[in-house]
């Protein structure tokens, strides 16, 4: 296969509906694993930097051609979706669109938690490679606790199976954990097996129309302290500029009866959805994206005891940055997310102030989106950890095939 053959595959990308820019990266879309191996061999020969990818839903966030010579999408690789509700395990090719997986699972009373609100455009492999979790994580655990096994291809074209398809398994090193969230830096994910949760009997979405960030943080703290098992608390700036708070609860009818009683003790709810709660929650999530369709996302982890301080830091510093933002918090697992329409190329004084604020409340944070920001804005890795990460990366990708080109 020649370089020109690969470039011609850009048309394939256009058919996927992925964003093709004039300066877009050439994307190869192999139809089977032998083609993928051939492309990797060519990439090795040509010393290209390669970005494994799925449907490209994150591309608007990444200055692709600056970092990579070639993208390889898994979306053309064939295979079936296998889902056995009795086993609670789903296995599918990495390039399978997430929406298809959701349809198969939900048709059989499954719930492909914890990723509700996922951009419908993403692929299974992209989801695993990013390792992000959604609001249901306080109930069913983070995504990385639900990836049971993978088939992967390394830079040299070898294919390996890691983990398995069983809900309990300690046979060998837990390599699926290493690959989940590896963002394409170790190799290409070909297939993934995930543990699927059962659909909850009931869902409720409660909305409080007016609520400021500090008030919301105190509510979060109270929910945590009083052990109220809600799935997520989310506060968004609406299109009209007001801040609203949403509480989303899932569980059995019995559990909901008790949970709702507790929630109502903490807040006077303006709106309450039951049947359509899932759709409403998705719409709310999408609403947060609407603010900033091509935006970066700052994912902040912070201990519950620091939430009020975090709220102050965010309110002050985000206002200082002068950008609209959306914040979502998961009181069950101490996570806050901030999303803003901002692609900072450098650490500005306002951003530095935010960084200081985050450090003051012992938060950890990472950018989801711009490779450019990785390493320039974020907490320093733990002592020795950087060595361990780099040693592992080198073992899997000794030539640096899957690593972005360092910025000039």
């Amino acid at each position: 296969m020649s370089r020109s053959t690969i470039q011609s595959v850009e048309q394939g990308l256009a058919q996927l509906g992925a964003p093709v820019q004039t300066d877009a990266l050439p994307i190869a879309q192999p139809r089977n694993e032998s083609e993928l191996q051939a492309i990797l061999a060519l990439a090795a020969e040509s010393e290209w930097r390669v970005l494994p990818c799925g449907l490209g839903s994150t591309w608007p966030l990444v200055h692709l051609p600056e970092f990579w010579d070639l993208g390889i999408s898994t979306c053309g690789l064939e295979g079936d979706i296998q889902f056995d509700p009795g086993e609670g395990v789903l296995t599918a090719p990495a390039g399978t669109p997430w929406s298809q997986i959701q349809d198969v699972v939900e048709a059989q009373s499954g719930r492909i938690a914890p990723y509700q609100g996922l951009q419908p455009k993403g692929s299974l492999g992209g989801l695993v490679a990013l390792g992000l979790s959604g609001p249901e994580r306080s109930f069913v655990g983070a995504l990385r606790h639900r990836v049971l096994g993978l088939r992967v291809m390394l830079a040299d074209g070898s294919v390996a199976r890691i983990g398995g398809k069983l809900v309990k398994n300690v046979t060998g090193f837990d390599l699926p954990r290493l690959w989940t969230g590896s963002r394409g830096s170790l190799g290409v994910i070909l297939e993934a097996s995930l543990r699927v949760a059962h659909a909850p009997a009931e869902q409720h979405l409660l909305r409080l129309r007016a609520c400021d960030l500090t008030q919301a943080a105190h509510l979060c703290e109270r929910f945590h302290a009083e052990r109220i098992p809600c799935a997520s608390l989310q506060w968004n700036e609406t299109e009209e500029g007001a801040v609203q708070l949403e509480v989303w609860c899932i569980g059995s009818a019995g559990a909901m009866q008790d949970t709702l009683r507790l929630v109502r003790r903490c807040l006077d709810v303006d709106e309450h959805w039951t049947e359509e709660a899932a759709q409403q929650a998705r719409a709310a999530w999408a609403g947060a994206w609407r603010l900033a369709p091509d935006a970066d996302q700052l994912v902040i982890g912070c201990q519950p005891s620091e939430w009020p301080a975090l709220a102050v830091a965010l309110a002050n510093d985000l206002d200082l940055l002068g950008i609209p933002y959306a914040v979502r918090a998961l009181p069950g697992c101490a996570e806050a997310r901030v999303r803003w329409p901002h692609l900072p190329d450098a650490v500005t004084p306002a951003l530095q102030a935010l960084q200081d604020g985050l450090e003051a409340c012992h938060a950890s944070w990472q950018w989801f989106g711009t490779h450019a920001m990785a390493g320039t804005f974020g907490p320093a890795p733990a002592p020795g950890l950087a060595w361990a990460q780099e040693s592992l990366r080198r073992q899997f990708d000794p030539q640096g095939r899957f690593q972005p080109r360092p910025r000039a």
């Binding site: 009795g86 086993e87 609670g88 009373s109 983070a142 990385r144 606790h145 992967v152 070898s158 294919v159 390996a160 199976r161 398995g164 398809k165 069983l166 809900v167 309990k168 398994n169 300690v170 046979t171 060998g172 090193f173 837990d174 390599l175 954990r177 290493l178 989940t180 969230g181 590896s182 830096s185 059962h198 659909a199 059995s252 009818a253 019995g254 559990a255 008790d258 994912v299 982890g301 201990q303 519950p304 005891s305 996570e335 950890s364 990472q366 974020g378 907490p379 890795p381 733990a382 002592p383 020795g384 950087a386 060595w387 361990a388 990460q389 040693s391 592992l392 990366r393 073992q395 899997f396």
Partner: protein, 481 residues
Amino acid sequence: MPSPALAQDLRALLGPQGFLEAHPQRLSYESDALGLVAQVPEWVLLPSDTQQAAECMRLLAREGVCVVPRGAGTGLSGGATPVAGGVSVVTTRMRKILDIDPVNRLARVQAGVVNVELSRAAARHGLFYAPDPSSQMACTLGGNVAENSGGPHGFKYGQTSRHVRGLVWVDARGEIIDQSDARLDPVGLDVLGLWIGSEGMLGLVTEVVLDLLPSPEVSESMLAIFGSLQAACEAVTELIASGLQPSAIEILDKLTIDAVEASVFAAGYPKDAEAVMLMDLDGSPAEVRELGEQLETILKAHGSRELRRATDPEQRRRLWAGRKGAYGAMGRLAPDLYVADVVAPRTRLAEIVALSTAICAELGLPCANVFHAGDGNLHPNISYDRRDADQVRRVLLAGQRIMAACVERGGTLTGEHGVGLEKRDAMCMVFRDEDLAVQERVRQALDPGRRMNPGKMLPVRGCREMRTRSPYLPGMKEYDA
């Protein structure tokens, strides 16, 4: 053999309490609870904190000495047995609970803290530590991390890896890698996730940060009595498919019931039952009530002839006494116990339990089943006498055949006890050479000198060669099939 100069340095560092040289002192570290393979370590080192552990590791690295980490030695796969020589570095002097933070629900402990001690300390704050291996009275949290241990309540709450928020570990060079900042998600590659379940092959863990959970408002135990083991397994399959979530689902078969009821652990299980299913239900009052009703419907539909429910702590403790004491009770049947640890697809539980029993029967061995049914994690337990070489041969053969039967039906070798020495060569039943080569890369990255727990988990020969050999336990003489 390490040099006298090294011995002198280690003695000076650790003192007489922390450096065991005399043979009788070292003897009790020759094996773990698998017992079939033994090898006395060259020395036994007992550091008391991270700094001391790191200094030990640096000194050992100086002479390239192999290191076998060890907690309480309750492992059932030979993981802590120094089969390839070297020294044992034991964590039992690192027993401090360093901090319990009730607001953020986190505990920071030294690796040698015994599992149940953390549960007790957490209970004072209305919290609990979820992973509860049946060995929790003795096993260490460091050992739990190294094996990614589970327990009855893993069905709802998950295994150890789901609860570890941070680690401090020392690598083979003696460098401290401090990942104790309790991050919710990893930044960059998830080294912590990889570390859990690494069976002492990547380093020595010295401190662990763990999530604690709020104690449930209401807890109830339920015992379902069955006239057939098959029916009990089928009930489990259905209640999983229905999405019901008790916190534990354990099954004990007839042989186990007999052993338990004849022992000090007697729990009042009916002696004429073929199987009992023990469940815990927890949550809010309405949630537990509703779950109880739903469970009753399914259990009765599958022929459970009697249901006993207990909310009173003493009654609950009694119902669980039989499960918790099951291994002890089996000591009545024979001096030694071989505990298999296979995982079956949850839709094939009944079939694989029946197969395991048949495999043992064919080899003239008793097979008592007590298992974490909700996760498909089976423990066919074979009582035997290790002084009888022929019994040992048949036990090992049965273990191999059970693993093979399980793998053929989509299962795997181990759900919680780890591969260790015992299942090392059986890895070839599950993985190809190409798959194992990827696992080898992990070791190469973090311990290129291969000094950490050598001879464990990864087969030392290629699978193609292994498949032509007869089953045996590495370190023992080879037996004919």
